[in-house]
């Protein structure tokens, strides 16, 4: 068995090289290309030679894939003009080279405020590019396991993909807790209450809700294993599939829309001991989801 590497603790480039087959990663517009954000320099803010995102091609279990990984340690993985264009570019490239999958290792607070307008437009361009790739029958797989989570525009992009994989430590939502707290006060959302933040945005909640399709440990090999499983597993959007999504999202508001707390939602979803969820490991969560599926069928 390979040694355990925490996905969260690795940086973006390490995640990419260790997720792919050894020595197979070929970076596009890497640090040597010096594709930097001109806007950060103007503002006197440190910039990065890759603008905080690593893109390229490689092999996964021998199959060609394209890959992008956001660097959470640079501006929280925020999407600016160059960063966004690199994501759009790698997705559009998929339409040319038709890989077995496009893997996106998402870690981002969303739009980078220093270039907010460019970031906002770029997020919608990435969404359209993801949906183009998806429509071409090439699966786009979101792998979310970084310490900065997947928020704002990146949370929107994630939910446009064919598959969403999260670790139980990962978080995904639209607005971050700090933004909600600063807007509506600590009574609305105490961003320092780590347990509350986790119950509201964390991987286990998203898995129990079905907002991520797969839950894994914070282990690079676990992410790799799932990415291999999902190669070629395309879920093309159709009117029928979106009508089903519409119905599910409508039912969700009816069934749990009045709940103020995740624990109450889990109880209504049929989880026997919702107050035990926080202490459960990934395997226990999977068993729980499987048993819920049987109870519903």
């Amino acid at each position: 068995m390979n040694p355990h590497f925490s996905f969260a603790e690795l940086n973006a480039r390490e995640r990419v090289t260790q997720l792919l087959d050894p020595d197979s990663f070929c970076e596009i517009l890497g640090p040597a290309a010096r594709t930097v954000s001109p806007h950060l320099a103007l503002l006197g803010v440190p910039y990065a030679f890759d603008d905080g995102v690593v893109i390229g091609s490689g092999l996964l279990q021998g199959h060609p894939v394209l890959i992008a990984a956001q660097e959470g340690r640079f501006m929280g993985g925020g999407v600016g003009e160059v960063h966004g264009a690199k994501l759009v570019g790698i997705l559009q490239r998929a339409l040319q080279v038709r890989p077995a999958a496009v893997l996106v290792l998402a870690e981002s607070g969303g739009v980078r405020l220093h270039e907010a307008n460019a970031g906002l437009i770029a997020v919608s361009e990435v969404m359209r590019a993801v949906l183009d790739v998806r429509a071409a029958g090439i699966p786009v797989v979101m792998l979310i396991g970084g310490a900065n989570g997947c928020f704002g525009g990146m949370g929107l992009i994630a939910r446009c993909a064919d598959h969403v994989v999260m670790s139980d430590q990962a978080r995904m939502s639209m607005s971050g807790p700090e933004v909600i707290e600063s807007s509506h006060g600590v009574e609305e959302f105490d961003s320092r209450d780590r347990a509350l933040v986790w119950r509201t945005t964390g991987g286990k909640h998203r898995f129990l809700m079905g907002d991520c399709d797969w839950l894994v440990e914070d282990d690079l090999e676990a992410f790799r294993g799932l990415a291999i499983e999902l190669l070629g597993q395309s879920k093309v959007l159709t009117l029928q599939s979106l009508l089903e999504e519409q119905q599910m999202l409508t039912d969700r508001i009816v069934e749990v829309g009045e709940c103020d707390e995740a624990i109450e939602i889990w109880r209504r979803l049929g989880v026997q001991s919702p107050d035990q969820v926080a202490g459960m490991d990934v395997e226990q969560l999977r068993v729980l989801m499987a048993s819920r599926g049987e109870a519903n069928s």
Binding site: G84, R93, G110, L113, A118, G153, L156, T238, L243
Partner: protein
């Protein structure tokens, strides 16, 4: 501009647009044989799970029942609703669903025109107007992610520096002209709004050309060339 005044300016009396909660929806006649579906939000609505879902419902119903009918997305939003309850329910999934529905409509042969008729802030704009074939705005529209004083507080960059740079760099400062320069807004509609809509419907635009537009207009010098470099690598 409020939605009633906008509807009147666009369609005269030839429309049946109504309001349910924050969502406006209905149809209008652009000519004897041209019906357009209209959906959007009013009064700077915050986009919560219900608001996103109601718009998605309308788009899907249009695709299902009226193949090919053009769709006008009307934008007036203060951004996504900033509530813990919406996040518990998975607001990003609801909003992304709206974006996916708009995208499906385009792929199914519907022309999609976006129009910012009042205010477009932050995330509320991404999954509606910015998912259209092309998005337009009235000149008095307000588009931004964050005002400069707030941006100064968050980024710890002096307000003076941000104000000074905003005069020459459209990349962060609020303003509809900045979005035009960067290609996010195709054009401004002033004067005859109906003519603007007819022209937009006549211009084939199913490929995302905003990065190229931003480069041509000088507002986004790098995005298009970075995309090209990745494609050519």
């Amino acid at each position: 501009m409020n939605w009633q005044a906008l509807s009147l300016a666009l369609f005269g009396e030839s429309h049946a647009i109504t309001r349910t909660g924050d969502v406006i929806h209905g149809t209008a006649q652009l000519g004897p044989a041209l019906t357009i579906a209209v959906v959007g939000t009013a009064d700077h609505a915050a986009i919560g799970v219900e608001t996103a879902l109601a718009q998605a419902r309308f788009v899907l119903d249009t695709v299902a029942s009226h193949p090919g009918r053009p769709i006008l997305l009307l934008v007036d939003t203060q951004g996504q609703r900033l509530r813990r309850r919406d996040e518990l329910l998975g607001l990003n999934r609801y909003m992304a669903h709206l974006g996916c529905c708009v995208d499906l409509a385009r792929r199914s042969g519907h022309r999609i025109v976006g129009l910012v008729y009042d205010q477009a802030l932050s995330g509320g704009f991404i999954t509606s107007g910015l998912m259209a074939d092309a998005c337009y705005a009235v000149p008095e529209a307000e588009i931004r992610v964050m005002r400069i004083p707030a941006m100064s507080r968050v980024t710890k960059i002096s307000e003076d520096l941000l104000q000074a740079l905003s005069l020459t760099n459209p990349v962060f400062a609020p303003g509809v002209a900045n979005y035009v320069a960067m290609g996010g807004i195709q054009a401004l509609w002033s004067g005859d709004l109906k003519q603007g809509l007819l022209d937009a419907l006549a211009a084939p635009n199913t490929v995302d050309t905003r990065a190229t537009l931003g480069a041509e207009r000088g507002g986004r010098a790098l995005a298009a060339s970075v995309i090209q470099q990745v494609l050519a690598a």
